[in-house]
Symmetry: C2
Subunit: 145 residues, 2 copies
């Protein structure tokens, strides 16, 4: 049930950029703040760029910044884009469902996995980068009304 370091590091980078809001931040500065090597960050930032989360400027005084406002960046989407489905098993994944023959005979595990998927997805899909920056990750969730 782990989050991979790629997802973790991507979120660290987004947080670092979110704290500077509009300025360009260079990889080596992001590296200092996130404790991730420049070379690995480079790879991760390219992924973030290709998925439309950040924009970059090359050359002297270049760097990265967020493409959208932090309140429009949804953590669940970032994690799915960077490391794949949130569901614990593909038989309960909305975004990448795979058939399992046990479904036909009334699998007794599927409802459990579905519940986990729902809880995790609900939480991450209702948390934005701004929530992280505000340290506002409790409450405010759909099923707690």
């Amino acid at each position: 049930m782990k989050i991979s370091s790629k997802g973790e590091y991507a979120l660290r980078a987004l947080i670092a950029l979110g704290r500077k809001e509009e300025e360009l931040v260079q990889i080596k500065d992001i590296s200092k703040e996130t404790l991730v090597s420049s070379q690995y960050l480079e790879q991760i930032l390219l992924h973030l760029k290709s998925h439309g989360y950040v924009i970059s400027k090359r050359g002297v005084n270049g760097g990265y910044k967020l493409k959208e406002a932090p309140e429009r960046i949804v953590i669940g989407k970032v994690i799915r884009d960077l490391e794949g489905p949130l569901a614990p098993m593909s038989c309960v994944s909305i975004t990448s469902y795979e058939y399992c023959p046990l479904e036909d005979q009334g699998c007794m595990l599927k409802p459990l996995w579905a519940l986990i998927r729902d809880e995790v997805a609900d939480l991450l899909d209702h948390t934005t980068l701004q929530d992280l920056l505000d340290r506002n990750i409790n409450k405010k969730r759909s099923d707690r009304k």
Copy 2:
């Protein structure tokens, strides 16, 4: 955020045994029901045995059965025993915590991981094998009162 097939298969095997309650069930019969190869099941059943979930009888007419009643087998414990901590990051793991230097500077991600850990652990630690057999996995959780 995946459950490994080892954990999934172990739970399938426990369910198969739980349905027979007291009889000895042979690996090849568990294999038919769970759709897991006999040879891989063999390995998994040994793990389940070493962790005290099942007992076996060798020789002709041997097989496996549950060591305890299904209502005493907690799914969270099975998963932790078979595939490790439930926490999405080791910095929020109760059972296998590991220090992360970002903690000292107020990591903004840790509260999120902690919340996920709490939700998943709460769910799995309040679900027993009997609940799975009864298809009774909703409600009845501590934070829903």
